[in-house]
């Protein structure tokens, strides 16, 4: 085991890495034990990298027969206590949704890395398109809340993957990492922290000290708090006799409280929004024009803001690191005094613009800058900033 532990952590310092590799290394650092995947451009490098690295750290990387099998194998591995992950692109996500809803209902944690690409199965496989942003939120039948994180560079692909695993273990829900074709294939310098620092960041899977009957999240009757118990593990004493879609209850009979069940699934995450909703702000303190962005457009926005500030325009960026659950309180607070809001997104619909719209005051316009198969040039955002400042 000592040998496998040695190889889990890369030597601390700077490494030149591809985005997909940085994400894979982040997962290994977080303690990934099972990866099930099916090759799909642009996520292929993840499975290629992990096929070499996972056996080194004593883990398993399996190339399954299709996406349906990979996500089910990932769920099975998570059920026996292994931290598990899969990586795919939009068409793969579409195939996997049935299992994602089952995993969310059974509160089985895993990390789902979505390297987004344009179009359906026959689309442009190497072009980016943030078209799964809305999809992941309701990715499956049934009602549940997922967590989705949007990194913007290779360093974050490493760091946020660790955070994604922590969220999955803590809140027992599927966690999505929204990478994209350009980010996945981008080569950048990644600063790998030391072993101690990584271990301090990682949340390991907890096992209960004594047997209990509460295998799923529930609302405490006395305190009204949502309690998320440790994940039961098949192959130990701490496991329900029957794992079944939760509304069935332990004996396979319909639950008398279907509403409370759905409520628990969603609210257990919503009440923890202060811990889950990660955001970042850039020059936002005195800004009248606010740019709300996530993922790659953040980088163009930062540049545009730098130029606009030199021209004396008060503009700032609110960056959403956590996209779902939507950080509504933070967004509301940030755009309170804004005269104009700019939302550059790499999709036409403007899924996040729609969300921001809920909190805008009457008279304040939302300027969308849609882009597909391309990212924003800072000038394009700058043009809109100048327009809005007039």
């Amino acid at each position: 085991m000592s040998k496998s532990k040695e190889k889990r952590f890369l030597s601390p310092g700077k490494h030149l890495m591809m985005g997909n590799e940085a994400m894979s290394e982040g997962a290994i650092a977080a303690g990934l034990k099972f990866f099930g995947g099916y090759p799909i451009t642009p996520s292929t490098e993840v499975i290629e990298h992990l096929a070499r690295r996972m056996p080194e750290v004593g883990g398993v990387c399996m190339q399954m027969e299709d996406e349906l099998a990979s996500i089910n194998a990932v769920m099975g591995a998570s059920l026996v206590g292994a931290k598990s992950m899969t990586a795919t692109s939009g068409p793969g996500l579409a195939l996997m949704t049935e299992t994602i809803s089952m995993a969310a209902n059974l509160e089985i944690p895993f990390v789902f890395c979505d390297v987004q690409r344009n179009g359906p199965g026959t689309g442009y496989v190497t072009d980016l398109h943030h078209n799964d942003i809305g999809f992941v939120r309701f990715s499956g039948n049934g009602e549940f809340q997922v967590i989705a994180l949007a990194p913007m560079n290779c360093q974050e692909l490493f760091d946020l993957t660790i955070i994604a695993f922590n969220f999955a273990e803590t809140y027992r829900c599927p966690v999505f990492l929204l990478s994209d074709a350009y980010l996945g294939h981008l080569h950048e310098v990644v600063e790998i922290p030391s072993e101690e620092e990584i271990l301090a960041r990682v949340v390991d899977r907890k096992y209960p000290d004594e047997p209990t009957d509460n295998f799923y999240s529930y609302r405490d009757r006395m305190t009204n708090e949502y309690i998320i118990p440790e994940m039961p593990v098949i192959g130990t004493d701490y496991c329900p006799g029957l794992w079944l879609h939760q509304p069935h209850g332990p004996a396979g009979l319909p639950t008398p409280k279907p509403v409370e069940f759905i409520q628990t699934l969603i609210e257990k995450i919503n009440v923890n929004k202060d811990k889950i909703c990660l955001t970042d702000s850039y020059q936002l303190e005195d800004a009248d024009i606010v740019i709300v962005a996530y993922g790659l457009p953040v980088r163009s926005s930062y540049r545009a803001v730098d130029i606009a500030r030199k021209e004396g325009i008060k503009v700032g960026v609110l960056r959403l690191i956590t996209v779902w659950p939507f950080p509504d309180e933070i967004v509301q607070k940030s755009i309170e005094n804004a005269k104009a809001i700019i939302v550059p997104e790499i999709n036409y619909t403007g899924v996040i613009a729609e969300q921001v719209e809920r909190f805008t005051k009457p008279g304040v316009s939302i300027i969308r800058i849609p882009k597909v198969c391309d990212f924003h040039h800072p000038d394009e955002i700058l043009k809109e900033i100048r327009e809005a400042a007039k």
């Binding site: 190889k7 006799g241 029957l242 794992w243």
Partner: protein, 303 residues
């Protein structure tokens, strides 16, 4: 809605293995939810019997159940077994993940003919191809029972179902042939009319290091028997309706041929018949998780 379980008839049985049933241990309810004449009760009891007699470690033998009528078996089988209800057809994939994350395990998969020949055909093939150490029991009642009697990939030629109201005209899928072609190392077929043979094969499968596929032909009286005469595919003969469990068991007995006899029979004679017996028992092929362990050692630089 919540007290359906309480409304079911409930008599404490005297049968020693039935007392071990999950719903019985949990709720004190020993009833089954299967139709009269269904074969799944027999399979559940046989499974419980083997589980108890062989003293299987429930921690190492998780039971992965697919979707179908037979999923209700989960309430009847041994209460100590750790069961998970998987999605329709995905049971082999789920079990593969469990097995690989904890290689000590030997998952037992319950699946139906629609599960493993229809929606999950691909997972079934690749489970057999990998020769991963698990047991898959394929319950073949040649119909989609839970959804109300639609035609299945395994439906016999000429049979009437709700989606083939005139007669079944498709060729039938054969789980055993597919498993053999895909490379499973222990393949057998038996019926609920031959319970001792099933127990023999199942015990052998539990000791086998590799993929075991056991197909069990079982009757569906409600949706198959009542709609079909026992001369399926042979309309010249006079047939009788199979509207009771006994008649269907008789029909299954009549419709099965032992593998030794089948060798000397022509294809026409074997048409619409079930060949029972052990088709393959091969210990020489490498097992997937053991091979992966070798890869792990190689990657770690050990010899």
């Amino acid at each position: 809605m919540s007290n359906i379980g309480m409304l079911l008839p409930n008599e404490k049985p005297e049968h020693p293995y039935l007392l071990k049933s999950y719903a019985g241990m949990l709720l004190g309810n020993y009833s089954t939810r299967f139709c009269a004449g269904c074969g799944y009760g027999i399979i559940a009891q046989l499974f419980t019997r083997v589980f108890e007699d062989e003293k299987l470690d429930p921690h190492l033998h998780p039971v992965v159940i697919g979707i179908g009528c037979y999923a209700q078996i989960m309430l009847l089988v041994h209460g100590n077994a750790q069961k998970i209800l998987s999605l329709h057809g995905r049971a082999p994939a789920l079990a593969t993940g469990m097995k690989m994350a904890n290689p000590k395990m030997k998952p037992i998969i319950f699946s139906g003919d629609g599960d493993s020949m229809g929606i999950g055909g691909n997972h079934f093939i690749h489970m057999c191809r990998r020769n991963i150490n698990m047991v898959e029991l394929v319950f073949n009642n040649s119909i989609y029972g839970m959804t109300g009697g639609q035609g299945a990939p395994t439906t016999l030629y000429g049979a009437r179902t709700t989606t083939t109201p005139y007669r079944m005209f498709e060729n039938r899928a054969d789980a055993v042939e597919i498993a053999l072609a895909a490379g499973a190392t222990h393949v057998a077929r038996t019926t609920v009319a031959h319970p001792r043979t099933f127990m023999k094969y199942f015990k052998k499968a539990l000791k086998h290091n590799g993929t075991s596929v056991i197909e069990i032909v079982t009757p569906c009286v409600t949706y198959f028997g009542r709609k079909n005469l026992d001369n399926i595919g042979d309309p010249d003969e006079e047939g009788e309706k199979m509207d009771t469990g006994g008649k269907m068991i008789d029909w299954i007995r009549k419709n099965t041929i032992r593998i030794n006899q089948a060798k000397f029979m022509s294809e026409e004679e074997l048409f619409n018949k079930y060949i029972i017996g052990e088709f393959r028992y091969d210990k020489s092929k490498p097992e997937y998780s053991e091979e992966y362990a070798k890869i792990q050692k190689l990657a770690m630089g050990e010899k």
